[in-house]
């Protein structure tokens, strides 16, 4: 059932996002040449500058559109008329949420990759590959210097943290939308309000949590090496807790407090 939901979700969302990314790549290719013509004067120069500006804007557009689209899709597909179809399918509410979460995550990752590829297309020179490899080697050696043997751990932890905060942000949006729909007349305003309130609370909690950590690390005069052992795992646990709370809350609201128009 989850697979079927994901397949359908992918199909529905590709309609907008695949053309969007293809257009980005197309603009990138054009810009590769536009860049070279940048310094020309006259019409050619103007057009090339215009194309470059368009390119920069399009990168932002791609990212913003991806994010906005996934948010509005969650709302539209589950909480408007289409919700009558989705919630009467023989699927559990958590499967509906998970399918959307995973596909949103997928598109965000694809979006980031598309932007990277696009930057490569525009700016890559034969040196780029070797330059990038050198930079990576440099980073790896810094990491192994600072953290001793455990730079792999750091790297893994950082990836986890990035993924979890991405997931957490998506779930935060989902739970805000779910909370918003509890207010039958002000669903959208309710969602925004919920988001802002929860976000503020989280910021507040993070500051509170930093205090004991600050005390702990200054007392024990630990250096950067304490990061992977203590701080990062703690962050991961906290992130996981947050994600789980948001997920369960969204599930509960959809299971017990659903009220489609």
């Amino acid at each position: 059932m989850l697979n079927k939901l994901m397949k359908h979700e992918l199909r529905a969302t590709s309609r907008l996002l695949v053309p969007l990314y293809l257009i980005l790549l197309f603009i990138s290719i054009i810009n590769r040449f536009a860049f070279k013509l940048y310094s020309y004067s006259g019409i050619v120069g103007i057009i090339s500058k215009f194309l470059i500006v368009t390119y920069v804007i399009s990168i932002f557009v791609v990212i913003i559109v991806t994010v906005l689209y996934m948010i509005t899709r969650f709302y539209k597909n589950l909480l408007t008329d289409e919700g009558y179809l989705m919630f009467t399918l023989p699927a559990k509410t958590h499967q509906l949420i998970t399918s959307k979460l995973l596909i949103t995550l997928l598109w965000l990752i694809i979006g980031i990759i598309a932007v990277l590829i696009s930057l490569l297309i525009v700016f890559a020179v034969p040196d780029t590959v070797s330059y990038t490899i050198n930079e990576i080697k440099e980073i790896m050696s810094i990491l192994s210097r600072e953290f001793g043997g455990s730079w792999v751990l750091v790297f893994t932890e950082l990836i986890f943290i990035s993924l979890l905060s991405l997931v957490g942000n998506i779930l935060l949006i989902y739970v805000s939308i779910a909370l918003g729909q509890l207010f039958s007349n002000h669903k959208i305003i309710g969602s925004f309000a919920a988001y802002m309130i929860i976000y503020t609370v989280i910021q507040f909690l993070m500051i509170l949590m930093l205090i004991p950590f600050g005390v702990y690390t200054s007392k024990n005069s630990m250096g950067v090496s304490s990061l992977p052992q203590v701080i990062f795992p703690a962050a991961i646990i906290i992130l996981m807790l947050g994600c789980t709370c948001f997920y369960l809350a969204t599930d509960y609201i959809f299971k017990r407090k659903l009220n489609l128009d």
């Binding site: 079927k4 289409e82 009558y84 179809l85 919630f87 399918l89 659903l258 009220n259 489609l260």
Partner: protein, 232 residues
């Protein structure tokens, strides 16, 4: 288990006012039941509860002995009053969708009905008229071999010839193991196919009786009785 639907002391309130109060009734398999009542009487709320889209405040509802959940959604086919299909889908996409998610969906029946109603499966839903979209939804819902069909205003926005076809579809689709619950205000059009009627007023059941009993006792059609009871 012969009763397919059982409602016991169902109540649901929305911001203070009761949409449903103490609803009790049972529906047997093999029957076609009319759920009648003016706007705001609670018909749609009741259908939403049966389909797991709303959780009642008190009481319980059982479909084939089970509370609303995945297992009941597998055997209940719901046609809501609104267009619940995504506009970008082609008619054939919607058939694939139903085939994918519902094990009891018979694509052959659906294709056949589309052909009879001269609906092109390759057209996107957004290019179809409202009436045609409603017909497509009805075809999808009736092509499932379900045990309970809940139809909310199935003949509402449709022309008279198509209404006849829809009524005919409900009859020919009949099987003794399933029940059909039709919520409508177009009583005159369908009362001849109803076995029983449940009439709701202000969230309570004011009458649940067989159509024959009403006609014999009152000597008039359900439509006439309804107009009397709900005279403005």
């Amino acid at each position: 288990m012969n009763s397919i639907l059982q409602c016991e002391s169902l109540s649901k309130k929305f911001s203070g006012s009761a949409a449903l109060s103490n609803i009790n009734f049972t529906i047997e398999r093999g029957r076609i039941i009319g759920l009648l009542g003016p706007n705001g009487s609670g018909k749609t709320t009741l259908l939403k509860i049966i389909n797991g889209l709303l959780v009642p405040d008190t009481g319980k509802v059982q479909i084939s002995g089970m509370e609303p959940g995945i297992e009941t959604k597998k055997i209940v086919s719901y046609l809501p009053e609104r267009t619940y299909l995504a506009d970008w889908m082609k008619v054939s996409d919607t058939i694939d969708f139903f085939k994918d998610f519902y094990g009891d969906f018979d694509a052959k029946i659906a294709d056949d009905m589309l052909k009879r109603l001269k609906i092109d499966p390759n057209k996107k839903l957004k290019t179809l008229s409202k009436g045609t979209k409603e017909k497509v939804q009805l075809i999808l819902v009736m092509s499932r071999r379900a045990e309970l069909y809940c139809l909310d205003e199935p003949i509402g926005g449709v022309d008279p010839a198509s209404r006849d076809y829809i009524v005919n579809t409900i009859i020919t689709n009949y099987n003794e193991n399933a029940a059909v619950l039709i919520s409508t205000h177009l009583i005159a059009e369908i009362e001849n196919i109803l076995d029983e009627v449940i009439i709701l007023k202000d969230g309570t059941v004011i009458l649940h009786s067989s159509v024959d009993d009403i006609r014999t006792k009152e000597g008039k059609s359900i439509d006439s009785l309804f107009r009397e009871v709900f005279k403005c």
